[in-house]
Structures are given as C-alpha cells and as structure tokens.
C-alpha cells in the first residue's frame, strides 16, 4: 500500500481503534517519517468529552497520547481534536496538562485564541453533511463548493481548516433493503417449517 499523493495532512486518530492493520500502520508511519502526516488525538473510542470532567479528559488524553506515541514513535504529537468538536475550557485544560499545543474544534466554540499555552484553531470548512444520527449516510460537497468555502475562509480568517471523514469516502450498504430481504426469506422459512411440522404431526397421529 502506498500513498497516491504526498500531501501534508492532519490525521485525527481514534487510538483504541487503530493498530491491528499492519498495512495501514506502515502507511501512516511512512507518512509521519517523511513529514507529510501529523498525528492528532481524537479520543480512545471517540468518547463524548462533554460527558466527562476535566480530570477524566486529562487522563483519557494522556492514555491516548501514550498509545499513539507507541504506535508512531517518530510523531511529535501536539494536537487534540475532541470528538464531536466539543472544545470547551475542560478540553483546553486537558490539552495544556498533557503538553499539547493545539486544539481544533468547531467555530461555535470561538475564533482562534490562546489559552495557557494552547492555541485554539477552529475548523472553518465542512466538506459535507455528517449523518444526522448513527447509521445515516454522510454526504460530501462537490469540489467547486469546497474550493469556494476554502477561499472564503482564507479571506475571512487568514487560513482554512477543512475536515473530511472516511464515512464520506465509503460506499454505504442499504441495510433497510437487506433486512427486508432477510425478513421475507425468514417468513417463508418459518411458514414452511410450521406447515411441514403440522403435516408430520397429523400424519403421525393418523398412523
């Protein structure tokens, strides 16, 4: 597996969900070694930081940082991307306590600012609409729309940060249709078995 394009990208990694695919690990390690990839923290299993207090977030971020540093020894980990982009003061505190230098979340949590040595840099461009609930398909804007948003952001903030997700690049399976098919097959099997069982029972009694 090799990189199709060598470009500078920040990878927000879910630490507890990475490490079993040696090909992927090697790809990311090579990208880090060559300076293209930045390794950023995005939780252990994409936890909702809003439900945790600062001590819990600090502990969690420390564990994630240790795991990622173990997986990618050559990475200088300095960025926290909180799951759900909940970048409040607790998250900033946890980042500072773990020696991180950057937090990036949503513009809802403010424009760029500095706090105890940590710089907050919000995402400024959405590349599509995420699924509104678990299981909904994700959309991705067309290239012209994204470019327009990037240009607008550079004009407004002096930079652009756009987020992409693997869900936007993956094919979706229409589970409702699959389940409907399974249900129909299941009902046919059920009815057949009951009919056969009743017939066998009746024949047994008659014999």
């Amino acid at each position: 597996m090799t990189l199709r394009r060598k470009v500078r990208v920040t990878l927000a990694i879910i630490a507890g969900d990475l490490g079993t695919d040696p090909q992927l690990l090697n790809l990311v390690r090579n990208g880090v070694r060559e300076g293209y990839f930045e390794i950023a923290i995005q939780g252990w299993l994409h936890e909702d930081f809003a439900a945790l207090d600062e001590t819990q977030i600090t502990e969690l971020v420390r564990n994630v940082k240790e795991r990622l540093q173990g997986l990618f020894p050559e990475a200088a980990i300095s960025t926290l991307i909180p799951p759900f982009e909940e970048a409040d003061s607790k998250v900033m505190g946890a980042a500072a306590a773990n020696g991180l230098r950057y937090v990036t979340g949503d513009l809802l949590h403010g424009k760029p600012y500095d706090w105890n040595g940590v710089r907050y840099l919000p995402k400024t461009v959405d590349a599509g609409i995420p699924g509104s609930r678990l299981g909904d398909p994700w959309t991705m804007d067309d290239q012209a729309t994204i470019i327009r948003e990037v240009e607008r952001s550079v004009g407004t903030y002096g930079y652009a940060i756009a987020s992409f997700h693997p869900q936007q690049l993956a094919r979706t399976v229409n589970m409702p249709l699959v389940l409907m098919g399974m249900l129909i097959v299941g009902v046919i099997f059920l009815v057949s078995f009951f009919v056969l069982a009743l017939r066998a029972d009746k024949e047994g009694r008659e014999a």
Partner: protein
C-alpha cells in the same frame, strides 16, 4: 421430516436471526451500516482533484504548522484534517466529530 420440537427450535432460531433485527430497525435502532472497506471511487476522485487544486493554488500545511505559516506574507494556508482515522473494517459509522 423435523419433529415438532425441532421445528420449534428452528423457528426460534429464525426469529432471532431475521425478525429481531427487523424489529430493531423498525424501532429506529442504528442498523444502517457503512461498508468502510469499500471506497467510493467517485468521491475519492473529487478529493484527489481538490488536493491537486490546493497544491497548486494554496499552501497545504499540517495543523501543527499553521501558526508558523499564517504569519508569512501572502501565505494562504490550508489544513486538510482527516478525522475518525481507524483500522479498515465494516463498522457502524461514527457520529460527526
């Protein structure tokens, strides 16, 4: 021919396998899956084109380089943040991050 008891056992198994997932789906539980191992080539092409545009017209940087580059005259820094990175497998998609 299956005995009555066998039929009941098989029927129960079928209910477990077919009916319960359907009821769960009908109740709005998240059973819609994204096949993360299958890449949508059209969308990948869109992102590749975007990267080509950015490489030519703007300065692609990592987020940890942004503050340094922002101060440069005429710099137009662009960070491509790729979220939810994890091992390839079939999985329920995560909520937005």
């Amino acid at each position: 021919m299956p005995s009555k008891r066998q039929s009941v056992a098989i029927a129960s198994l079928l209910v477990l396998v077919f009916v319960i997932p359907s009821v769960l789906f009908a109740s709005g539980r998240p059973l819609n899956l994204t096949l993360l191992t299958e890449v949508d080539e059209n969308r990948l092409t869109e992102v590749t084109s975007l990267v080509d545009w950015a490489s030519t017209n703007i300065k692609m940087v990592r987020l940890d380089e942004l503050s340094k580059v922002s101060g440069e005259n005429g710099s137009r820094p662009f960070v491509l943040r790729f979220d939810d990175v994890r091992d390839r497998r079939i999985a329920t998609p995560l909520q937005p991050s």
